[in-house]
Symmetry: C2
C-alpha cells in the first residue's frame, strides 16, 4: 500500500517521460511545454489508488493514469483558448506563447495520444475502460459548454450550476477512481460506491473553492479575495444568495453586479452574510463530504486499505481556511 | 457484394441517424449541422469495402465506418478554424455560423463520440483497430502541422510535400480500408497490401487534384482555374517546377509569385508547360496509380471481389479532365 503523497511523487516522476515524437516540432514541442508546467496530478493518482484499494498496482493502471492526465491537459489547453486565459500556474498558456492554431492542434493530438495509452491495456477490460473514458470525456465537454452558456444567461439556478460542476469537475475524479477499481478487479457494486465517493468529493471540493474565494483567508488561500465576486461569476454562493435574498437584498445584489463600485466585494460579502450564505455553504460542503464518506464506507474492503483515499479527501476538501 | 455506389448510398442513409444527445444544444446542434452539410463519405465506405473484400459486412464495420466519418468531420471542423475558411461546400463553416469556441468544443466532442463507436466493436479486434485509428489520427494532425509549417517556409522540397500529403490525406484512406479488412478477418499480409493500395491511391488523387487546379477544364472540374497558383500554394506542380526550372525560369516564377500580376495564372502556366510540368504530373500520378493497382493485385482474393475497389479508384483518380 502507498500513501496518497507517495503515489503523487511516483506518478509525477514517471509522467516526465516523453509522450510525443520529435517531429513535427511545432506540433509536439508545445505539448511537452504544457505538460512541464506541472500540476497536482490528482486524477491519475486517483486511478492508481482505485486500483490499489483492491489489488497491487497493475501496469495497466499506469497506462490509464497517463491517459487520464493527458486527457485532463487536453481539456485545459482547449479551455485556455476558450477562456482567453493568458497564464496557467503563472506561465504563458500555449495559445499565448505560440498561437491559437497551435493550442488547438496540439490539444487534439494530445487527446489522441491519451487514447494510445488506453490501447495498450488488457483487451479483457479495454471495452469497459474505453466506454467509461468516452462517457466521461463527453461529460467534461458538456460541463464546459454549460459553463460558457451560463456566463451569458440570467436564469441560472443552483441545480443547473451543480449539474455543470458535476460534469466539468466531478465525473473525471469519479471515473479516475472507477477505472483504477476496474483494473483492480473490483465488483460492479464496489466500482459504483467508489465512483459516487469521487463524484460527491468533487462537488464538496468545488463548494469549498467557491467558499474560500469569498470567505477564505487570502494569506492561506493564496488568491486575491473576492475574485469571483468581482467577475460576477455565478458561484454556489451567488446563486444561493439570489434564491434566498429578500427583495431589497436581491435588488442591492443585482445593482452591485451591474455597477461594480470600488467596495463591491465588501458589500456583496455583507449581503452574503446577511443571508447566511457562509453557514449554508459550509453545511452544503459538509453534506457532500458526508455522502462521499458514506460511499467509501460502503466499499467492501478493510478500513486500512481506504486510508490513502481519506488522505486524499483531507488534502482536497478539508483544507484549512 | 455491393458496388461502391451502393455502399455510398447505404452509408449515407444510415449516417443520417442522430449521433448526439439533445443537450447541451449549443454543443451538439452545431455538430449535427456540420454533418448535414454532407460529403462524399468515401472513407467510411472504404472501411465497408475493406470488410467486404474478405467477408460479408459485419456490424462492426458499420461502427468503425461511423467512427471514421466522425473523425474526418472533426478534422474538417478544426481545420476550418485554423484555415479561417468561411465556407464548406458552399455553406458557412461552424466557426462562421456560430463562433470559434463552438467549433473547437463541438469538434472535440465529435472526436470523443467517434471513439464511442469504436468501443462497441468485438473486444478481440478492438486493440488492433484502436491502435491503427490512433496512429492514423496522430498522422493526420502531423500532416496538418506540416501543411501549416510549409505555408511560411521557403525551403519546401517535393519530398516534404509528398510526406505531408501522405499524412494529411492518404493514411486515412489506407487505414479505412485496413480497418475493414481486419474486421473481415484478413491476414496481416493482405491488410498490408490493401493499406498500400489506399496510400498510393491517395497520393495519386492529390497529384490529380493539383493538376486539375492548373490544367483542368474549369467547366468539368467545377472550380476556378489556377486558384492554387493565385495563392502561391506549394503544390506538386510548383515544387517540381522550382526544382527543374532553369535559372531564368525560376527567377520569373519567383517574381510572379512576389508581384501577383493580373495575368499571373497564364504566365505561371506557360512556365509550367515550358518545364513539362503537365506531362511530369500526369506520369507521376500514373506511377502512383500503377503502384496502387499492383498492391490491389497482390491481395489474395478473387478478381471479382476487387471490382468495387477498382470502381472507387476510377471514381477518385481516373476522373475525366
Amino acid at each position: 500500500m502507498h500513501s496518497f503523497k507517495e503515489l503523487v511523487t511516483q506518478f509525477t516522476e514517471k509522467f516526465k517521460e516523453s509522450h510525443f515524437p520529435a517531429q513535427p516540432a511545432n506540433l509536439y514541442e508545445p505539448g511537452t511545454y504544457f505538460l512541464e508546467i506541472g500540476g497536482k496530478r490528482i486524477r491519475p493518482v486517483m486511478c492508481l489508488m482505485g486500483n490499489e484499494l483492491f489489488d497491487t498496482i497493475q501496469p495497466d493502471a499506469w497506462h490509464v493514469a497517463t491517459a487520464i492526465e493527458l486527457f485532463h491537459n487536453f481539456t485545459l489547453m482547449h479551455d485556455d483558448i476558450m477562456d482567453k486565459a493568458p497564464l496557467r500556474r503563472g506561465v504563458p498558456t500555449v495559445h499565448t506563447k505560440y498561437n491559437e492554431n497551435t493550442a488547438l492542434l496540439t490539444g487534439d493530438v494530445m487527446l489522441i495520444v491519451a487514447y494510445d495509452y488506453l490501447a495498450k491495456i488488457n483487451p479483457q477490460i479495454l471495452p469497459r475502460i474505453l466506454t467509461l473514458f468516452n462517457r466521461t470525456g463527453r461529460e467534461v465537454c458538456e460541463g464546459q459548454q454549460w459553463d460558457m452558456d451560463f456566463e451569458t444567461s440570467q436564469t441560472v439556478k443552483l441545480d443547473n450550476y451543480l449539474h455543470m460542476i458535476e460534469l466539468k469537475t466531478s465525473v473525471l475524479l469519479a471515473a479516475s477512481l472507477k477505472m483504477g477499481a476496474i483494473i483492480g478487479g473490483a465488483s460492479e457494486g464496489n466500482c459504483l460506491h467508489l465512483y459516487e465517493f469521487g463524484r460527491n468529493l468533487g462537488i464538496a471540493f468545488q463548494i469549498q473553492d467557491d467558499y474560500l474565494d469569498a470567505f477564505g483567508d487570502p494569506e492561506k488561500f493564496g488568491k486575491e479575495q473576492g475574485g469571483d465576486i468581482r467577475q460576477n461569476k455565478k458561484t454556489f454562493l451567488l446563486l444561493h444568495a439570489l434564491e434566498v435574498a429578500n427583495p431589497q437584498q436581491k435588488s442591492r445584489l443585482l445593482q452591485l453586479m451591474e455597477e461594480n463600485p470600488a467596495d463591491k466585494v465588501e458589500q456583496v460579502l455583507a449581503i452574503f452574510r446577511e443571508c447566511n450564505v457562509d453557514t449554508w455553504a459550509r453545511e452544503l460542503k459538509q453534506s457532500y463530504l458526508d455522502k462521499a464518506y458514506q460511499q467509501l464506507e460502503a466499499v467492501a474492503v478493510t478500513a486500512t486499505r481506504k486510508a490513502p483515499l481519506l488522505e486524499l479527501a483531507e488534502f482536497l476538501v478539508a483544507r484549512e481556511h
